[in-house]
Subunit: 222 residues, 2 copies
């Protein structure tokens, strides 16, 4: 069955840039393409929009189909539509970005993906389409959102220690952060809630566990 229009229509796809922290580095999820074009190359998980499907739902579906990853909060990044970005036809791609705690994810390659895996942002393979540009834009967004919202907690498990939180920050901003200033900041900001629990995560002395408070208390005032 075919579909006919009076004017030419571009195809619309969605792609997802999913970041996580793994092995002490910022990594993202790629799939190896099973089909042409760019067969065998690594690419962002994504695919064609169904005609009666919401954009964000499409992104979530393609992510699940190709990598097995589900239950991730997606945020729209930007739409990429350069005329020659896909050799087959004109393709407009609406790109989403997301963060994940890696231990929650059950990775497996899906239908259109020969393989799926995590890659350090600093050591990406050669990519299909304009996905290197897309990833650069997503990384910029990640850095600017860091200071403006509470997204760091999406990298961490439900409960975590202050030192774990600090380590995540250090990886994200790629710099050392003073331990005492960091602790004071988070302990006085009120976005953390002590669980009362202690834990030992490899170190000797036990550390206090915290969880992220639902919302920034200041936000309630607006």
């Amino acid at each position: 069955m075919t579909h006919t229009y009076q004017y030419p229509h571009p195809a619309v796809t969605t792609d997802v840039v999913l970041f996580t922290i793994r092995e002490d580095s910022l990594q993202l999820l790629l799939i190896r393409r099973r089909n042409a074009p760019f067969e065998g190359r690594w690419a962002l998980p994504g695919g064609f929009l169904d005609i009666d499907e919401d954009l964000e739902r499409c992104a979530a579906r393609e992510l699940a189909e190709e990598t097995g990853v589900t239950g991730i909060e997606l945020e729209q990044l930007r739409t990429f539509g350069a005329v020659d970005r896909d050799p087959r036809e004109r393709v407009i791609s609406v790109v989403y970005f997301a963060l994940a705690r890696v231990e929650n994810l059950h990775l497996r390659a899906g239908d259109d993906a020969a393989d799926a895996g995590w890659f350090a942002l600093r050591a990406l393979p050669e990519l299909a389409f304009d996905h290197d540009q897309i990833i650069r834009a997503a990384h910029e967004r990640l850095v600017t959102e860091l200071s403006r919202s509470k997204i760091v907690f999406q990298f961490l498990p439900e409960t975590f220690t202050l030192e774990e939180l600090r380590r995540v920050y250090e990886i994200l901003v790629d710099a050392e952060i003073d331990k005492r200033n960091f602790r004071r900041y988070f302990l006085t900001q009120g976005m953390l809630e002590p669980t009362g629990q202690l834990c030992r995560r490899g170190g000797q002395r036990q550390a206090r566990l915290y969880r992220a408070r639902e919302r920034d208390p200041v936000a309630h005032l607006g």
Copy 2:
């Protein structure tokens, strides 16, 4: 001539939210639709993407065709794609936003627009499609970008007085701003360059004129 695809394709459009400051209020540019659907309703300037046309170029072209406005810097805002946002067919709209000094613009209604005009954000008419949602998103973006970049200057003429700049800020944040703190901030930030000229803009005493420096001097260090 018709165009046929193996799978259904959505249509892709671009729309533009163009803000300006006029009559002491924040206003934006709307056109009155000449054709169905929503014939006679006010809407954002925009239209269908040509198959070999860059997204941003499409936005600029439609803006020019429908309103006569040219030479505006466009920034991508977000893509809207709810399944039922257009009654004709599935339409994905890539929305751009932009700021303008109103005195530079030569407004005139174009082919697909029965009329074009400025409307205060606080007193919008009933709008076509989901354009009220789009405008709300654009306004949010405007407010957050205000503090993070130098976009205010896009509302002002080449040279301006500190009091004019302050008045623009007051309209944008919808609050009073302390005159002395405001002046000190801008005079010490180094983003203004005194022209050495004076002018009288209706008041009695003459005021010094400034222009925006090309770049934030701090940005050069990065």
